[in-house]
Symmetry: C2
């Protein structure tokens, strides 16, 4: 829905896009407002018309990351509407895939580059929505008798946390080679969920 008007046209999105590119090519340490502006072909302070500060740009990039993740979860949920167990396992796989396809976005989403996330309503909303999708899957699993009954959101934290933790450790290089030689990350995550499910 780019509004191709005004001076640049759609600078806000162009800046986000430039930021994502820098993130992918040069990593989180090289992301700067000035470089983003340069890449978008505007002056070094032009971003301030759209983002109050660097944090705000980071929030926008993180938010986009969550939207992408959330959409991917959505399609997994829909394509296994009748099979909650598959929803759970495939969601986890989608999560793994997302994290490794967008390593630096994943890092920015979860690695406290964003200091006061509460100040960014769009970010809060989509991250909560994402978590809620997991809760719904857990509830579906409970109804199907695959997961024990109980507070679904607490159980979702446990399962989601498990998947998240394994991925986070892997991305930080904290999982040793010898482990990853035995099993791929996808397998480890699946095994983790299988174990969590069977009572």
């Amino acid at each position: 829905m780019k509004s191709k008007t005004y001076h640049h046209g759609d600078l806000k999105n162009a800046l986000i896009k430039a930021g994502v590119e820098i993130l992918a090519k040069e990593g989180i340490g090289k992301l700067s407002l000035r470089k983003v502006a340069l890449k978008a072909g505007v002056s070094h302070t032009a971003p301030y018309s759209h983002f109050s500060d660097k944090q705000s740009l980071i929030a926008a990039i993180s938010t986009e990351g969550f939207q992408k993740l959330s959409k991917s979860l959505d399609s997994v949920i829909k394509s296994h509407a009748d099979n909650p167990k598959k929803q759970l396992i495939e969601s986890a796989q989608a999560y793994v895939k997302f994290a490794f396809a967008n390593k630096d976005i994943f890092k920015i989403m979860f690695s406290s580059a964003l200091e006061k996330e509460k100040e960014y309503p769009a970010f809060v909303e989509v991250s909560q929505k994402t978590f809620h999708q997991v809760v719904e899957i857990v509830e579906a699993c409970q109804e199907a008798g695959i997961i024990k009954s109980g507070e679904a959101d607490v159980l979702a934290v446990i399962i989601w946390g498990q998947v998240h933790g394994i991925i986070a450790l892997a991305i930080e290089g904290q999982i040793s080679h010898t482990v990853l030689e035995k099993k791929s990350l996808a397998e480890i995550v699946t095994q983790a969920i299988e174990q969590a499910i069977k009572k």
Copy 2:
């Protein structure tokens, strides 16, 4: 073992200490080599006699964090030498405690502030040692019949990942209030382990 000699005496440790303090008081975003130097009462380039660059200081702080964590795991392991289940649960509690008592050190340890961890042997060594402690607990649990047999390191990744993930999400503010009103983080972590254990 401070070697109270040379100009400053023990600048290297003083810089690390200053860094930790800034981290605790002002957060990760405010940590700078110059501020650390100022705090230690030396010129702005003095740190370069002890750290090749900022990353290197961050590595040293992270390493110290892991040492602290590792020691705390050690004492848990020793004080429940005859009870592997307790070792596991109490280790997790120690991990929670460490993370929340040293939020910004925890972040720096795991939040990719350190870009090429492999280049810092001391860091690699102590982080591997820490993981190995968890593996040993898992093995003890297996021998006690509390955890199913199988590759202990893979199982350790799963359990450690679970604990780590829940904490990481909590520290990032990604766990909703409604969940934390029902159960404290310590309880959630314990519940997670209990579930992971019982087959």
